[in-house]
């Protein structure tokens, strides 16, 4: 698999560490309540299709990258630095 790091360009996916769904960027406020936190930490849409997930360019520049990707085909639709995805 090849992933385009926003800083380093297209790299082999063995340079990356995988975290999971990009909803990890949407951290609830401390008082958001039990359900919101359960959703954030545990519950997953887990789509069979297009998803957005988080990769860390550990063997490269250290950027956290949001990758839009199809879980059925592994097609990568786009990548974006996590810091920009948030902004």
């Amino acid at each position: 698999m090849r992933i385009t790091c926003p800083h380093c360009g297209e790299r082999d996916h063995r340079e990356f560490y995988y975290k999971g769904h990009a909803l990890a960027l949407e951290r609830p406020s401390p008082d958001a309540g039990e359900a919101a936190w359960d959703d954030y930490v545990h519950q997953r849409e887990n789509p069979a299709g297009v998803t957005r997930d988080l990769w860390y360019h550990e063997g490269g520049c250290g950027a956290w990258v949001v990758v839009s990707r199809n879980t059925l085909t592994h097609e990568v639709l786009g990548t974006q630095a996590a810091s920009e995805a948030r902004a």
Binding site: M1, D12, H13, R14, Y17, Y18, K19, G20, H21, E34, D38, D39, V41, H42, Q43, R44, E45, N46, P47, A48, T51, D53, W55, R69, T71, L72, T73, H74
Partner: protein, 417 residues
């Protein structure tokens, strides 16, 4: 038809003309007491035990493709009961006991081979962890032996004792662990369930779950609607999609686990050996192929195929641990879709919808659990109560924090278990 050596002999002498279908292909009926979604190992064993232990007959197993086509047909066939946390310990112990009588029970040779499993350790700290595990196994009534380096060398002299990157300190030996012929397990349960009147319906994809007033009423399928009083979702690999039909979200993320088999070779590895530092496990099939695997591919996927970094990492671990397998050639690689749960342990529970049950989240551990999972799930569906060996696989444990069963100590990271 009862299978036996005598039967094989008799059929052989009369031209093998008398063999009969191992199961029927019935048309779906409009209504069942219980509909089981998923004709994999767990769904089939659930149906079997519902019929065998609870006297229920009006049961259908609905399978999208062919029975046994999911992870039961694509794993490394390891059977063991060597867990160390409450919840897992009693459950896998229960499952192993069912394995031990499975051939007689099913009248099907699933080739359950208790050749023993050795988990290697490579430091004092890992020995302590292995001891914690082994002591739990013993206190649960299972078997465990702590092997020192020299005892280990006697059993498996071909390991790299001289210059392994992480030196061998010893191993935790589980003599009753072993392997089984994976497909035969599915077929044996299928035949057993069918014989007891369960309708196994292949090529019958479920497209919807009918719910009225918080009560399940049946399912929609590509072959028409089927009414049911109870519906069980047993679809590891597609759990999230099926649960979504009931409006549910599950604490599951799907990941790929690859496995490999080599060309046939004369016997050379007699045990199941696991190398935790390399995420590597290996055994040799009765046909002679080395069957082995490693860690996840580490990205959410439903593709049922993996990529080279993991392939190579698995092979690196093999070469590091036992360089004598270097000349074995990898014949085939495949990938299964794992239901990864936040603590790495399964979920067998009711749902908030009356009559709807869920069995999912088997991570890498589904194969060995097949008898136990079906057995306790059948108990839950039939009686409404948790089986004593499976009181802790609760759907709400993540929300409450009660009874989290995290063997790996990785926490709520679906992909790290």
């Amino acid at each position: 038809m009862r299978f036996s050596g005598l039967r094989v002999l008799k059929e052989g002498l009369t031209g093998n003309k008398g063999w009969q279908p191992h199961w029927r292909d019935p048309e779906p009926k409009p209504e069942y007491d219980i509909v089981i979604i998923g004709g994999g190992g767990h769904g089939l064993s659930t149906a079997y035990y519902l019929a065998r232990d609870h006297g229920l007959k009006n049961i259908a197993v609905l399978e999208r493709g062919y029975i046994g086509g999911g992870n039961i047909g694509r794993n490394t066939t390891i059977v063991r009961a060597n867990y160390f946390l409450q919840g897992n310990s009693e459950f896998y112990s229960h499952s192993l006991k069912l394995w031990e009588g499975l051939e007689e029970d099913l009248n099907y040779n699933v080739m359950h081979s208790q050749r023993g499993i050795i988990n290697l350790f490579h430091s004092d700290g890992q020995r302590d962890a292995a001891a914690r595990r082994g002591n739990m196994m013993i206190s649960q009534g299972d078997d465990a032996i702590l092997l020192g380096r020299e005892e280990l060398r006697k059993m498996v002299p071909f390991l790299n004792f001289d210059d392994l990157r992480f030196p061998l300190y010893g191993g935790l030996y589980h003599p009753r662990g072993g392997t089984a012929r994976h497909d035969a397990v599915a077929w044996g349960y299928a035949r057993g369930a069918d014989t007891r009147g369960v309708d196994l319906i292949q090529n019958c994809e479920v497209t919807g779950i009918d719910i009225e007033n918080g009560q399940v009423r049946g399912v929609q399928t590509v072959r028409g609607p089927i009414r049911a009083r109870k519906v069980a979702m047993v679809v590891a690999g597609r759990s999230s999609q099926v649960a979504a039909m009931a409006g549910m979200r599950l604490p599951i993320e799907s990941h790929i686990l690859q496995a490999f088999v080599t060309e046939g070779l004369k016997p050379v590895i007699d045990h199941v050996i696991t190398f935790g530092m390399g995420h590597f496990y290996i055994s040799q099939s009765d046909k002679g192929g080395l069957v082995f695997g490693g860690d996840l591919d580490f990205y959410a996927s439903y593709a049922a195929r993996g990529n080279l970094p993991t392939v190579e990492h698995v092979m690196e671990a093999g070469m590091a641990l036992m360089p004598m397998i270097g000349k074995a050639r990898v014949l085939r690689s495949w990938g299964g879709i794992m239901d990864m749960s936040p603590d790495g342990s399964p979920i067998i529970d009711r749902t908030h919808i009356d009559g709807l049950y869920v069995n999912c989240g088997w991570n890498y551990g589904g194969f060995k659990a097949v008898p136990g999972s079906g057995n306790v799930f059948a108990h839950l569906i039939a009686t409404g109560n948790y089986h004593p060996a499976a009181t802790r696989f609760r759907l709400d444990r993540f929300r409450t924090g009660r009874g989290i069963i995290d063997e790996e100590g990785k926490g709520s990271q679906h992909n790290l278990h």
